[in-house]
């Protein structure tokens, strides 16, 4: 009887010790697959970003405007408007598209409006500071204007009731000829996500 009582107290003590240890230890950290499907919530996420960028870059590369031109055409990235009610960093989408296109070697990119200031600053520093050997200075007036610009938008339709939330995203991208104003290529990517209780 005494032995049984001793056994029970040892067991309770071990459980308590384990519980207190678990409470003290921090969260378990693991590296995940950056390319894996993310389904934590219906909000815009990494899988959406990756699939949009991939679909758009590949479709643009296959367009006649890009594949049919002799030299790699110069393109610049204009604005991608976020028309959803969520906060979406659209710059990340266009940066990702730009990286994929550049890696293919089929397109060249001119600096966009946001990067213009640092480009001007660098040219000024080289040309106006008087610190550089003349033969190595990047001259002003030689920047290349982009033949095309990329612009687009992302919109969403959200519907929900007590048990279901449905989000529909539509991402639209256009390639516009800067000189003629003609839209030379356009594509869209649709994504539907549903969360049920």
């Amino acid at each position: 009887m005494k032995l049984n009582h001793q056994k029970t107290s040892t067991y309770i003590f071990s459980v308590l010790a384990a519980l207190s240890l678990a409470a003290c230890s921090g969260p378990q950290v693991r590296y995940g697959d950056a390319k894996g499907v993310e389904t934590i919530s219906v909000d815009y996420g990494s899988t959406d970003l990756q699939s949009i960028a991939e679909a758009m870059a590949r479709s643009l590369l296959q367009s006649k405007v890009i594949s049919g031109s002799k030299d790699a055409p110069t393109v610049t990235v204009a604005d991608v408007k976020n028309k959803t009610s969520e906060y979406i960093d659209t710059r990340v989408i266009t940066d990702k598209i730009r990286t994929q296109l550049l890696k293919s070697g089929q397109v060249r990119f001119a600096v966009n409006i946001n990067e213009m200031q640092s480009q001007v600053d660098e040219l000024k520093r080289q040309n106006q500071s008087g610190l550089y050997k003349n033969s190595t200075v990047s001259k002003t007036g030689n920047m290349q204007g982009a033949k095309y610009r990329i612009e687009g938008s992302i919109s969403s339709i959200i519907k929900q009731n007590k048990n279901i939330k449905d989000v529909f995203y539509i991402f639209n991208l256009n390639l516009i000829n800067n000189e003629s104003g003609l839209i030379e290529w356009a594509d869209e990517k649709e994504i539907r996500k549903t969360a049920t209780r």
């Binding site: 390319k35 479709s59 590369l61 594949s67 994929q100 293919s104 089929q106």
Partner: protein, 117 residues
């Protein structure tokens, strides 16, 4: 005798240049056995390899994702791995999934299927 030899050489050549089967071109992860790849084909379109896989779902579970692996000369991968793309496909439904190579260097492809949670 000469004709017989030529026939043997042709047979050997055909044997060596045979294209891999759908099974050989597919990598499966997780339990994706109920997803059947019915057809796999590719074409060069505007200088880029374009692949199309027709898949069919035989189970009620539809949490399947896929990605293409693009290969260049000597079977070396072109670019990093693609992101896994989820596809919703109900029981009995078949769907075409299309992939476009990221660069003109891609000359061959493989398809990977995975289950997601």
């Amino acid at each position: 005798m000469k004709n017989y030899l030529s026939f043997l050489i042709v047979l050997l050549m055909v044997g060596c240049s045979s294209t891999p089967s759908i099974k050989e071109m597919t990598t499966r992860m997780g339990s994706t056995d109920s997803i059947e790849i019915i057809d796999l084909r590719s074409v060069m379109r505007n200088g880029l390899l374009t692949a199309q896989a027709t898949i069919k779902n035989d189970s009620s579970s539809n949490l399947v994702s896929y990605r293409f692996k693009w290969l260049g000369k000597n079977g070396i991968s072109i670019f990093d791995d693609e992101a896994w793309k989820p596809i919703t496909i109900t029981k009995g439904q078949s769907a075409n999934i299309i992939g476009i190579a990221p660069s003109p260097d891609a000359i061959d492809f493989r398809i990977e299927l995975n289950q997601y949670k």
